[in-house]
Amino acid sequence: MSITSFYFLCFFAAVLFLYYVIPKKAQWGFLLFVSLAYFMTSTEVADSGGWYVVFYPLGAVAAVYLAARLIDRTKEQKKRRAALICAVIFCVGLLCTLKFFRLGLLAPMGISFYTLTLLGYLFDVYYEIGPVQDNYGKLLLFGCYFPTMISGPIVKYQDMKEQMYGGHKFDYRQVTFGMQRMIWGFFKKLVISERMAVIANEIFDNYGSYAGFPIWIGAVAFTFQLYTDFAGCMDIVLGISQCFGIVLPENFNAPFLARNISEYWRRWHITLGTWLREYLFYPLLRTRFFMELPKKLKGRVGKKRAKQITTFSAMFILWFVIGYWHGGTWNFIIASGLLHWFYIVSGELMEPLFVKWRAIFRINVESKGFILFQRLRTFVLVMFGLIFFRSATVPDALRMIGRGFSAFNPQIFADGTLFSFGLDWIELVIALVSLVIFGWVTVEQQKGWIRERLEKKNIVFRWAVLYALLFYVILLGQYGPDFSASEFIYQNFKV
């Protein structure tokens, strides 16, 4: 069931009503039941008849559950390690086999996300920084909580424990805030993302017929499409969860306000970055190989370089994994992985040069102009990467980029070409206006949630804003029998 479909909304309304009607003690069990039921309506199960697919998450949870219990109960380091490794191999093995090895097998919904969530729990138990869950059902809820099964966020057990299993009393404010957040997500997804998709699809699928600026327009459109699609999904999902009284972690924090690529990854898909840093990057750097490496290289290249090379090497592995996780093929490995490694490494290496240049041109790093430059630069760098993300193959992406540079044709902005990508001028205006609204709200929220500021206003103003937003989405959203439904992109790539 698509999260933006009418039936899903009916489903959600029913679930929400029942949730607050049943006794609080039964709420977590009810959510578990609902989560499994929702899982059974996913396309893999409902459309492809693959009901057996539900055994994959059940199995992964079982593996992690048993390993965690064993690790918790024993002091023998050998046994603990063995249990950890077995469970990790099992879960990662399932993930790779079903998703990345392209064997044409049916993969369960959310496998890329719940695998990390469950392994995070296991690692925390292993490192003794997190508690064990002795109830398989409760752990199952943690792993299969339906709002997170579509595209995450990747959650930490300690943060979820109290919320998931404790009962929740109906909180009018939380429920209304949650619903408002959902509407905002629908706005991003149905009004902006779907329109950007029209342009992006036209240009990416036919890049051979375009050259120069249209190529870049397509890339920009896709960047916005992906961002509003994924962030919109997060809004809906976090909003739903908030209605249940369960606060999920944020996955986005105005990523295009980032001034450099490192900061970007602290603002985009935040929970993934956190997970990889804590469970992959740090452990990697603390392995003997990486601890020894700087010492070995110190003699030959000096202390600073030795540290850099060590870090960059570990980062290479990290970024390779990030890229691979996104889709298992080279275009993803590059787009969301190695390309960003390259950006960060070059950024680091060129920093002394940048400092010199900034001195020569007397650039004030805190000036509005410079900050804007940095943000635009971040956007462009990310956009390049996304060309690889969206293209069918790496050669396609390279050819497309080549075509982008093959012509200089600013006249297309004035001669009506803009209206030949699939959106007429009215639709383009709607898209741009919506982007502006979206941008403004996103920036404003840096100062504090708009919902909280809205609740302080009088009821007439508040309702006017809410009705306006609702009908903006209802009238201008792209949905219904005349539009083809498109699933969340991130879900398709990494379910």
């Binding site: 009821i459 309702w463 809410l466 009705y467 609702l470 009908f471 009238l475 219904g480 029998p481 005349d482």
Partner: protein, 357 residues
């Protein structure tokens, strides 16, 4: 949840539904069907004595203003393109909510075609359901007409289909439809220009009978019993057109069924000469539907027939029928223009573009 919060929630949802309904009414696709139906709902209560239902052989054929002006009959067409016979019952029910007609006039052309063809083409179903006001009757109509249950919600909430017509929100003519009530200046009539000559074949000698599609016979039987229960009278109409032999045989099959139920069938095809209907000049689309010239003749004949066999009140001069007087006046002007244009086309042999089905 406190009482105040519950009240706020209920009010918010109520407000939302009200705005949703109003917006839906405004953005429903504009056109002659919307005008016809909104015009119907705008009519004053209990002023209409005859309701006409059926598909396209209704609104260009029979002029309600003319029936009023010449015979004093207050009739209103609730016809839509390719109106599936299954929908007739619901439309008649709908009409009875605000009107108390004594006669239902049912055009029969659609009975000769199987229903399943039309179920897939949503536009014909929506022609009916998306022109009705929101009501329980509408929901029942949708349930009956839309077999695929999973699609029904886009009918219940037709905003799903029409929301991209949002530009209509700034058109005064559509804003006027916010309650789905807007006077139709000529009481739902659509005067057709153009001449597409056809040849009439007299099939009156054809007495063979062929059963139409099974589901249509069921619908007919259901309709006849419903009309029986309603206590109203009904007249079944077959408008003149270039009929195929199969169609003739199908009508031959149905007519006795209707007459056995106690209702008259007026087959205008057997009165072509009497009406003075000339297939070479009176059709705009080469034999399927009449133009202004044909409409005058058909309406006149129907009017006389109704006078002869039915006791419909003469509403001319009565209070509350001022809009009908205006419609009659407007009709006469528009009809004259149309007839002149048709005659000119005939003289210049300026034939209408072919209508591709």
């Amino acid at each position: 949840m406190t009482k105040k919060q519950a009240l706020k929630a209920v009010l918010f949802v109520a407000g939302f539904l009200f705005i949703l309904r109003t917006v839906t009414y405004i953005v429903r696709t504009s056109g002659d069907v919307k005008d016809r139906f909104a015009g119907f709902y705008a009519e004053e209560e209990d002023t209409i004595d005859m309701i006409m239902v059926g598909s396209s052989p209704v609104y260009p054929y029979y002029s309600a203003p003319k029936l009023y002006g010449e015979e004093g009959i207050a009739a209103y067409p609730l016809s839509t393109n390719n109106q599936r016979p299954k929908a007739i019952k619901y439309l008649l029910k709908e009409a009875q909510k605000t009107q108390d007609p004594s006669l239902f006039v049912i055009e029969m052309r659609m009975f000769t075609m199987p229903d399943e063809e039309w179920e897939d083409t949503m536009v014909f179903t929506r022609g009916v359901t998306d022109n009705m006001k929101y009501s329980w009757n509408r929901i029942e109509a949708i349930n009956s007409l839309v077999g695929d249950k999973s699609e029904r919600y886009t009918y219940y909430f037709d905003i799903f289909k029409y929301h991209s017509n949002w530009k209509m929100l700034v058109m005064p003519s559509q804003l006027a439809c916010w309650r789905y009530e807007k006077q139709s200046p000529m009481k739902g009539l659509e005067i057709k220009y153009g001449v597409g000559p056809a040849e009439w074949t007299d099939l009156s000698a054809e007495t063979g009978a062929l059963a139409p599609a099974e589901e249509q016979l069921e619908v007919l039987s259901d309709l006849l019993s419903w009309i029986g229960d309603s206590g109203k009278d009904a007249l079944f109409l077959i408008s003149p057109y270039v009929m195929s032999k199969e169609d003739r045989q199908k009508f031959n099959y149905i007519i006795p069924i209707i007459e056995a139920a106690g209702y008259k069938v007026l087959d205008l095809n057997s009165h072509v000469e009497e009406m003075g209907l000339d297939f070479a000049t009176d059709f705009y689309d080469y034999g399927s539907h009449v133009n202004a010239l044909g409409e005058a003749k058909c309406t006149a004949f129907l009017g006389e027939y109704l006078q002869k066999y039915y006791n419909l009140p003469d509403r001319r001069g009565q209070k509350g029928y001022e809009s009908w007087d205006d419609a009659w006046k407007l009709y006469q002007e528009e009809q004259a223009k149309a007839e002149e244009s048709c005659l000119k086309d005939i003289e210049e042999e300026n034939w209408a573009p072919e209508v591709i089905d």
